[in-house]
């Protein structure tokens, strides 16, 4: 079982390592996702800023169409020349001219509002800014973007009036040798439409804010716009961000443990008024060890090395199965077969050399146990009771009897005394060198000695091998020879003198005793075994009834 256990330990370590690696991978993935989100947010922020600037530049080019219109230049100059009051004619003509030019601009590039401003800063005419309708003294000249345009600059700005406006302005010239006649100002309202358009072109979820509140927002598909409402609560601490305060762009902030946000100030007056935009992203992360399954898409699954994983699993399972078969199933099967053979009587004992590991020890112990039982004359028979054995033919003397060999002063053993236990040939401590009895070819002892290991043979040699029934006199003689050898060995071990002790004498005594017992008990045969009694070798005769 060593290999199997090693394999289990290895699998356990591998499983633990897998969990550990998966935990690390989850952490690394989430960290990488957060880092990627931060980089993506910075990129989004830059892209939005570039888009705003580029959009303003492109739209300032559209203002040229207004600037070169002769009516616009002419009537702006008329208004400029009239310091006291804007002439009504100029208002009407300019409004018509604004509408005419505006209609020539593609719809998606049109401004939400267009203003024509004279050199005094007064709004002579305007389109799309209905809030100022009816205000005769409506002007814009104080805003730097308008003042710059009136002095020959084209530029952009972000104004926070009633709403957020992205504004571009450029001068309108009537007489090249004098101050510009006025300026034309185009404005785009930074509303949800603007934010959605921006989001669709940049791919970023974006929200514009002013005065501590979200003004507009837009997000690509898959991103809930409602997430952007969370920035309102976060903006309270935004001014404490030194990078936002100094550079106009915050660090990547995480709201609610999930939403990554980066804030940027809008260029223009909005910069000073706390107006800006926030780009937001949700982090790509996995929840727990098995979150990868939910996060992975079909492409990920296609790229996963599934065959390798299956191969590893199959190999691991195969190795485990081989080990368990080799160390568990096969030994048990062998043991089962051997036990089955033993049960069927095809063999008299289990052969420990056929087993491995603990099974060898079990077999050896079983053999020892059987030997003990046989040495006691056999244990109680299992199965149906033999009435004859139970009730009838009960001998006068106990079946078990023992005797001392002639010339031996020791008395016969008393089976009931229990002082002397029959035993097989005792193991000499220290493995003393004993004279080996002559080996008889064909004897069971010889057979065992040549087929078993040294350990097993020592066990086997202690076991008297009873002749099978019907072996006749030859078998009986062979058994007696074995008993003689055991007896001589035992005597030597007990320190008795064996000089002059011959097999012939021993055989005569056995014959006599054999006949006596057969006659007395009507037994079929008598089994002899040796044992030690009071420090001396003794022989015991047991009549066998069946």
């Amino acid at each position: 079982m060593v290999l199997s256990r090693f394999w289990y330990v290895l699998l356990g370590l591998f499983l633990g390592l897998s969990v550990f690696l998966l935990s690390i991978a989850t952490s690394m993935y989430n960290r990488a996702g957060a880092r990627a989100m931060g980089e993506a947010l910075s990129s989004d922020s830059q892209v939005v800023a570039w888009y705003l600037r580029d959009d303003a530049r492109q739209r300032s080019g559209r203002l040229i169409q207004f600037g070169v219109d002769p009516d616009i230049a002419k009537y702006l100059q008329k208004s400029t020349d009239s310091e006291a009051k804007v002439p009504d004619e100029a208002r009407d003509k300019l409004l018509a001219a604004l509408k005419k030019v505006n209609n020539t601009i593609p719809r998606d590039e049109q401004f939400d509002a267009v203003f024509a401003v004279d050199q005094a800063g007064r709004v002579v005419a305007h389109l799309g800014y209905e809030q100022a309708s009816g205000l005769s003294d409506f002007e814009l000249g104080g805003y730097p973007v308008v003042a710059d345009a009136l002095r020959g600059y084209v530029r952009d700005d972000t104004l926070i009036l009633d709403r957020i406006y992205r504004v571009v302005a450029r001068p309108v010239e009537y007489d090249m040798g004098s101050l510009p006649a006025g300026a034309i100002i185009g404005a785009r309202i930074v509303d949800d439409r603007f934010a959605r358009e921006l989001s669709s072109r940049t791919g970023a979820a974006i929200a514009f804010y002013a005065n501590g509140d979200r003004a507009s927002s837009g997000a690509p598909e898959g991103f809930a716009v409602g997430n952007l409402d969370q920035i309102v609560g976060d903006m309270a601490s935004l001014e404490q961000d030194p990078e936002y305060k100094d550079k106009g762009r915050s660090k990547v902030r995480t709201i609610g443990g999930m939403l990554g946000v980066q804030y940027s100030r809008l260029p223009g007056e909005a910069w000073q008024l706390g107006g800006g935009f926030a780009v937001a992203r949700l982090p790509v992360s996995v929840d727990g060890l098995f979150g990868f399954f939910k996060t992975a898409d079909d492409k990920d699954k296609q790229q996963a090395k599934l065959p390798v994983a299956i191969l590893v699993a199959v190999i691991a399972a195969a190795i485990g199965i081989v080990f368990s078969v080799f160390e568990h199933t096969r030994p048990i099967a062998i043991f089962k077969n051997e036990a089955h053979r033993l049960a069927k009587g095809e063999t008299d004992q289990l052969q420990p050399s056929r087993f491995r590991g603990v099974f060898r020890k079990i077999a050896s112990d079983l053999n020892d146990g059987m030997d003990q039982v046989l040495a006691k004359g056999g244990g109680p028979r299992r199965g149906p009771a033999d009435m004859k054995q139970v009730l009838g033919n009960i001998p006068d003397q106990p079946q078990m009897s023992a005797f001392s060999f002639p010339g031996d002063p020791s008395s016969m053993p008393q089976p009931s005394s229990g002082q002397a236990a029959p035993r097989s040939v005792p193991q000499a401590p220290g493995n003393p060198k004993l004279p080996r009895p002559p080996v008889r070819p064909g004897s069971p002892g010889v057979s065992l000695d040549t087929t078993l290991s040294s350990e097993d043979s020592s066990v086997a040699r202690r076991l008297p091998t009873p002749p099978s029934r019907g072996d006749g006199a030859a078998a009986e003689l062979a058994e007696w020879h074995a008993v003689f050898q055991d007896f001589v060995s035992l005597k030597q071990q007990c320190g008795e003198n064996t000089d002059g002790f011959s097999y012939e004498k021993f055989e005569q005594t056995l014959k006599k005793k054999n006949e006596e017992l057969l006659t007395r008990h009507g037994a079929k045969r008598v089994k002899f075994s040796v044992y030690v009694k009071e420090g001396k070798a003794a022989l015991k005769a047991s009549p066998i009834m069946d």
Binding site: Y153, L161, D162, G268
Partner: protein
């Protein structure tokens, strides 16, 4: 040419004499708000480029003098408080931008924009920030002599200066060409002083007013050396930008 005569209620009578004059060099003055706004460090824009067809001399943040350059006639002694003055708030500035009045004069700020303003006096406890809705007005009396600055929390470009001078008898604003005319009620000796962005600019010009109108012999030059240097720098910047 009294542009703000309808806005600033100045005393006048049929017997009043006029002082007529002309400013020179006012294009060398710099509107401080616009001068700050053009500085890239203030992040006022993402791009700002000169239009080459506009002459460089015009590409400066010179003020809109009909609102920003004030000429005041300073009498020898204190004058009585002037009537309330209406100040329009709209278009990213006030009209006028610089005002010269006697202490105690009540000012009425009227929002002419379609959205609210939040005016406040810089360091003035009696003029805390407060909303003024579209069309609404807000009154404030000049507490004493000195220079007071008004700003708007909703519009950084809006900055107004109120010069409170006890001896001011009359104030007026020039036309875009720099011409001005002051109505003087009482004959006597006066000093003409121009104010821009809350500060005196140009020389103090003594004038004696009798029954007849007075025509100043020469223009009042309001460009000082620093302003001229800035103007030159602005010119060269504009030329480089045009290239």
């Amino acid at each position: 040419m009294f542009l703000v005569a309808g806005l600033v209620a100045l005393p006048s009578s049929a017997d009043a004499a006029r002082i007529k004059g002309r400013f020179e060099g006012f294009r060398a003055l710099q509107n401080p708000v616009w001068a700050e706004a053009k500085d890239p460090k203030n992040h006022g824009y993402s791009f700002r480029e000169p239009v080459p067809t506009v002459r460089a001399e015009f590409r400066r943040p010179f003020p809109h003098i009909p609102k920003e350059l004030c000429i005041a006639a300073i009498a020898a002694g204190p004058q009585k408080a002037q009537p309330p003055v209406l100040i329009r708030v709209g278009g990213g500035r006030t009209t006028p931008v610089t005002l010269v009045v006697t202490p105690g004069t009540r000012l009425t700020f009227q929002n002419t924009d379609p959205f609210k303003h939040k005016l406040y006096g810089v360091g003035i406890k009696t003029f805390a920030a407060g909303d003024t809705g579209p069309g609404a007005t807000r009154d404030w009396s000049v507490p004493g002599a000195g220079v007071f600055e008004i700003r708007d929390e909703a519009a950084p470009s809006l900055r107004m200066w109120i010069v409170s001078e006890p001896n001011v008898a009359q104030a007026a604003y020039p036309s875009m060409k720099g011409e001005f005319s002051l109505n003087i009620q009482e004959p006597g000796d006066y000093v003409l002083q121009a104010y821009f962005a809350g500060k005196k600019v140009g020389p103090a010009t003594p004038v004696t007013v009798a029954a007849a109108d007075v025509e100043l012999k020469g223009p009042i030059k309001v460009n000082d050396s620093s302003a001229a240097a800035d103007a030159k720098a602005s010119d060269s910047e504009s030329k480089e930008g045009a290239k």
